[in-house]
């Protein structure tokens, strides 16, 4: 197959646009889920909070002021077709330049510190990005940006369960995590769940699950059923909007799976706040 050339500067350009739009234009599936939540919510305080969240999304879309001040860590998923030849410079430099421009031009917050445990000095341009690169079939490059807030990321966890723990073990782990997180991750949340793989693969699956449209189901109907059951159980905890009590604690539970070792049953929960921001572009 003939190779197709893609300039890394095109990736920079697209990514800078994605950064700006992710923070101000919440997706329709998310808005729909929040509106549905407002219909379901019984707590007056919870209803008022959901109304404020919807009003906020509208203001943000109209004024291009970010919906949340935490405009996140730029998590970039690159799917690069194996017939693509990247030209014009270092790919990672191009990605970071896209983030740098996007966050600067759209007046987004720079929330990254250089050294995690000692210096903690702000890098002032929101770089580096966290980049997940995958080589896939074809001659296209797909760029997905997830702007991940710190508050909800902090409530995430991985559990190396025993095979004997089974579905019940996964269920307990996920529901307990969301219950314990309470108001911290800005409920109503979107819950990404990874099941299987290794320690790091499982966490990655949970993160990737968050990219799925709300209302989509796992293709395996047994996991689709578990998604539905977990959502009901999480919404029965009473945590509610902002943790102040109510029926709407999560908008969706999205599960992704991968084969695993005979000794293992890893499970991961990646929590996203109600501002589940992700945008994609294809070159």
């Amino acid at each position: 197959m003939a190779k197709r050339t893609v300039k890394v500067s095109e990736i920079t350009e697209k990514l800078s646009q994605l950064c700006a739009s992710a923070s101000c234009e919440l997706d329709d599936d998310l808005i729909g889920a929040l509106e549905e939540g407002l219909r379901t919510e019984e707590s007056p305080t919870g209803k008022q909070i959901l109304e404020q969240i919807l009003e906020n999304a509208k203001i943000s879309r109209e004024t291009k002021l970010p919906s949340c001040q935490d405009t996140g860590f730029a998590v970039v998923f690159l799917e690069i077709g194996q017939d693509v030849c990247l030209e014009g410079g270092d790919l990672m430099d191009a990605v970071n330049e896209g983030v740098r421009r996007g966050y600067e031009q759209a007046y987004l917050r720079k929330s990254i510190v250089d050294d995690p445990a000692i210096d903690r000095k702000n890098t002032r341009d929101n770089t580096p990005a966290v980049v997940h690169t995958e080589i896939v079939k074809g001659d296209r490059v797909k760029i997905t940006l997830a702007a991940k807030g710190g508050g909800s990321e902090n409530m995430s966890a991985v559990a190396m369960l025993k095979p004997a723990d089974g579905i019940e073990g996964i269920r307990r782990f996920v529901v307990e995590r969301i219950k314990e997180a309470g108001g911290n991750p800005c409920p109503p949340v979107v819950v990404g769940v990874g099941v299987g793989g290794t320690f790091e693969k499982c966490a990655f699956l949970a993160k990737k699950a968050l990219l799925r449209p709300l209302g989509s189901h796992n293709p395996d109907e047994r996991y689709a059923k578990l998604e539905k059951e977990l959502l009901s159980e999480i919404n029965a905890t009473g945590v509610g909007p902002q943790g102040l009590g109510g029926r709407v604690t999560a908008l969706a539970v999205l599960i992704e799976t991968f084969p695993c070792h005979i000794a293992s049953l890893p499970a991961a929960v990646n929590v996203n706040c109600h501002a589940s921001r992700h945008k994609e572009a294809i070159i």
Binding site: C186, A236, G240, G243, L244
Partner: protein
């Protein structure tokens, strides 16, 4: 809906009960993780704080950069528990109110009961909406911290909910109890 003016007094704090919906107007200060670390270091050394903390409300927030011609960027609350290691000492020195999101831990709650202070929840992720309540903003300390600098804000009708009060009232506990149910 109650109206409260900031800074607060002991009696205005005592009037507030968990679950009250409140509009705050007046002067408040922003501070989050890195600024709290510095404030507590100053107090431990017996030095003066960059602003008089008596009666004040601290808003746990780090706004987005201000666009030309505007007062402030997106300005919603950050998660409060990260400030729990620092809050009791600030309350002991006169801090009367905190605005953030998520529940506080017992050492903060007991300081709130002992010294009369209140914790308000603002809606996390409503930064564009909350920005409309901010009428003026200026950096008073730690500009080098970027989004974590301490800002003095003048706010009008800032919408919050009393989450945990000085009488032991706790909406996180009471609210969740009220709406939790068995699924089986």
């Amino acid at each position: 809906m109650k109206r409260v003016s900031a800074p607060l007094t002991n009696s205005s704090v005592e009037d507030l009960r968990a679950g009250d919906e409140v509009l705050i107007s007046g002067i408040i200060y922003t501070a989050r993780d890195a600024a709290h670390k510095r404030l507590v270091e100053l107090l431990s050394k017996g030095e003066e704080l960059p602003f008089d903390i008596e009666g004040q409300i601290i808003y746990y927030a780090g706004p987005t950069p201000t666009r030309p011609g505007e007062v402030i960027g997106s300005a919603g609350p950050t998660t409060s528990y990260r400030m729990d290691p620092y809050a009791p000492l600030l309350i002991e020195h006169g801090l009367k109110g905190m605005i953030g999101k998520g529940q506080r831990t017992e050492p903060v709650l007991s300081s709130m009961r002992k010294f009369k202070a209140v914790y308000f929840a603002a809606v996390g992720g409503a930064g564009a909406l909350i920005a409309r309540a901010v009428k003026s903003s200026s950096i008073v300390a730690y500009e080098d911290l970027g989004p974590e600098a301490i800002r003095k804000l003048e706010v009008a009708d800032f919408p919050v909910i009393v989450a945990q009060d000085c009488h032991g009232g706790d909406l996180f506990v009471e609210g969740v109890k009220k709406y939790s149910r068995s699924v089986l």
